[in-house]
């Protein structure tokens, strides 16, 4: 065992001999530092589910320690193409990641990442005020849940979803859907990281007056219930799609295609019939990270 001997550090040319290890160490400290900084940042959710932030912090700290070990107690080694390549790749990644972080911090649009407050939006509740998970409107009791929770329950063919519910969503409108008195409500669900994100959507109708003033990109809280995606014959407007598979297919085709980074899915069985709609300020985390299948829902 000849590492760490003081003589080694004092030998002539020892610094240049250990330069490659030191560069490796520097790369690791930079990556570890980046992970620690991002793990403590309020923008962590932009990349990963916040529940993983302790993992990122811990890994970042260990990388820093491993990097410092190489920086302080290097071993002699040559500069090879492969070694320089991996150092360059890591630094290039760090540059890319720093740009992504910068983009997240200065996201200019008022879309999912930076919901602009609307003039007529319902004001934020007091920070300490508990959320009423069973609001009552016009004598009807609603259960608050998030859109992904409802989607997952339906996807699993569960029948015990709340008959009347309230959920928050971003609105997506197109002229062809407007003609049919429909719009799309969407939320992005993230299990681990942005790469596995899914944009889950429901068609929504009803409350024509309330919905008419709402634009694409607005955030709303919808109080309503579920109905079949294509209502049975006689219960729909003239020119509406048939209440069979072809009708459903026809309707699903009207939905705009999803955009990266998320895969988009329109619920193929049900639509939300709105009973009341309130425009709201977008949530702090536009993504959904938690999904429960029974009360209390994550909302």
């Amino acid at each position: 065992m000849n590492a760490l001997t003081p003589q080694q550090g004092k030998a002539p040319g020892a610094f240049s001999a250990g330069l490659q290890d030191r560069l490796d160490g520097l790369c690791l400290v930079c990556l570890g530092g980046f992970m620690v900084a991002l793990g403590r940042s309020t923008l962590y959710w932009y990349f990963l589910n916040p529940k993983f932030s302790p993992l990122t912090l811990t890994a970042g700290a260990i990388l820093c320690i491993a990097g410092l070990t190489l920086l302080i107690w290097p071993r002699p080694g040559r500069a090879t193409t492969g070694r320089l390549l991996r150092q360059a790749a890591l630094l290039a990644f760090l540059f890319l990641a720093a740009m992504a972080w910068h983009e997240a911090a200065f996201e200019p649009n008022a879309g999912a990442f930076d919901p602009a407050p609307q003039a007529d939006a319902v004001p934020d509740p007091e920070p300490e005020a508990p959320v009423d998970l069973h609001p009552v409107k016009n004598g009807t009791s609603y259960v608050r849940l998030n859109l992904a929770e409802l989607y997952i329950m339906l996807d699993k063919k569960r029948k015990d979803y709340p008959p009347h519910f309230a959920l928050r969503a971003q609105v997506l409108r197109t002229p062809t859907l407007d003609e049919r008195g429909l719009l799309l409500l969407r939320r992005t669900a993230v299990v681990c990281c942005l790469a596995d994100s899914l944009e889950l959507r429901f068609f929504a109708g009803g409350m024509d007056d309330a919905l008419s003033g709402i634009k694409s990109g607005d955030w709303v809280e919808v109080f309503g219930h579920l109905e079949p995606l294509v209502p049975a014959a006689g219960a729909q407007k003239a020119g509406a799609p048939k209440a069979d598979k072809s009708g459903v297919k026809e309707l699903l085709k009207l939905a705009p295609k999803g955009e990266p980074p998320s895969l988009a899915f329109n619920n193929p069985g049900f639509r939300i019939q709105a009973e009341s709609v309130e425009r709201i300020k977008g949530p702090d985390f536009p993504y959904l990270f938690e999904f429960r299948e029974k009360e209390p829902f994550a909302w």
Binding site: L28, A66, R83, K156, L194, A195, D196, P260, P261
Partner: protein, 317 residues
């Protein structure tokens, strides 16, 4: 690439690398601990067992040594260099990302307690893993691995390699003696860092490819191929390779792709942890060409054949 597409691309690449980094680090740490503290003879004793026993042990080792595909390659490389027979090491490498408690529980939750999906997923990974391990089981560990990564470290002229030791543990020695506590800790940290950097290169290359795919993938094709089994299975296999999701999260994505037949979802769940854009460059660099091709092609062909057979037999309809 316009600015918003580039922003999405960079965010996806960053999220994939940061998601995988802790698991890659765990794999590197395990590899370093094995190198520094486990004597060569301890694991090499496995070679005395028959190939069947080696494969069986490798297939279930993930239950005791949970890891995901992000960290499994450095551990496998270390196991092979420590003398673990390929039958055990290769079957561990391919099966452990799925046959471990975390991944199986995630599959169970995502498919609402459907044990058939859990059992079929495990089977569809264990069968190809056993097949690959059987094919490569008679090859010497040293004939499987490329020396490339050692040269990348520029350490081939170090005393450790002059001594003929293949452990790569970072300390010179005549024989594997247990190092003093502080010395051992520093060896582990130094080796963990180097091992991490070795594999991070391939993680970054894979994340860049997956980021490009996710940014520019036309989503319509998912709907077009979902109704035909012969198209759905290869499409989902391709999706698994290209989007490179961690084996602990992929079940939730698969569960949301409910328009696809179940055999196609199983193809997605089985192949992704054995072959994706993070693993491809790692396999091609860690293993010599022929073993790498076996590790890449056999699982892909086996998963295709098995899931198509399940679909045609009407299983899981």
């Amino acid at each position: 690439m316009d600015q918003s597409a580039f922003a999405i691309f960079s965010a996806i690449v960053t999220s994939i690398v940061l998601e995988a980094a802790p698991f890659l680090l765990l794999g590197s740490l395990l590899s370093a601990l094995l190198a520094v503290y486990v004597g060569d003879g301890a694991l090499a004793r496995l070679a005395r067992r028959g190939l069947g026993a080696q494969i069986g042990l490798g297939l279930v080792a993930g239950l005791m040594l949970p890891t995901c595909e992000c960290g499994v390659v450095p551990v496998t490389r270390r196991l092979l260099r420590k003398g673990v027979p390929p039958g055990a090491a290769i079957s561990f490498m391919l099966a452990a990302p799925v046959v471990n408690p975390v991944c199986l529980a995630a599959t169970w939750v995502a498919f609402q307690g459907d044990w058939r999906m859990v059992a079929w997923r495990a089977a569809l990974v264990m069968i190809p893993a056993a097949a690959v391990a059987w094919v490569l089981g008679s090859v010497k560990g040293s004939d499987l691995l490329r020396p490339t990564l050692d040269m990348a470290r520029g350490m081939t002229d170090d005393a450790e390699h002059d001594s003929g030791c293949g452990c790569g543990c970072g300390h010179a020695h005549e024989d594997h003696v247990r190092p003093k506590p502080l010395q051992g800790l520093l060896d582990v940290l130094r080796l963990t860092g180097r091992e991490f950097l070795d594999m991070a290169l391939f993680l970054i290359i894979g994340a860049l490819a997956a980021g490009l795919f996710k940014t520019y993938m036309p989503q319509e094709w998912l709907g077009l191929v979902s109704t035909n089994l012969w198209l759905a299975v290869p499409a989902m296999m391709l999706l698994a390779v290209l989007i490179s999701i961690c084996s602990e999260a992929d079940a939730f994505v698969a569960a949301s792709l409910s328009m696809f037949p179940r055999p196609a979802l199983l193809a997605f769940l089985a192949l992704g942890p054995m072959l994706d854009l993070k693993l491809l460059p790692a396999f091609l660099t860690v293993f010599k060409r022929r073993p790498a091709l076996v590790v890449i092609l056999v699982p892909a062909l086996a998963v295709f054949a098995l899931t198509i057979s399940l679909g045609l037999a009407g299983v899981l309809q």
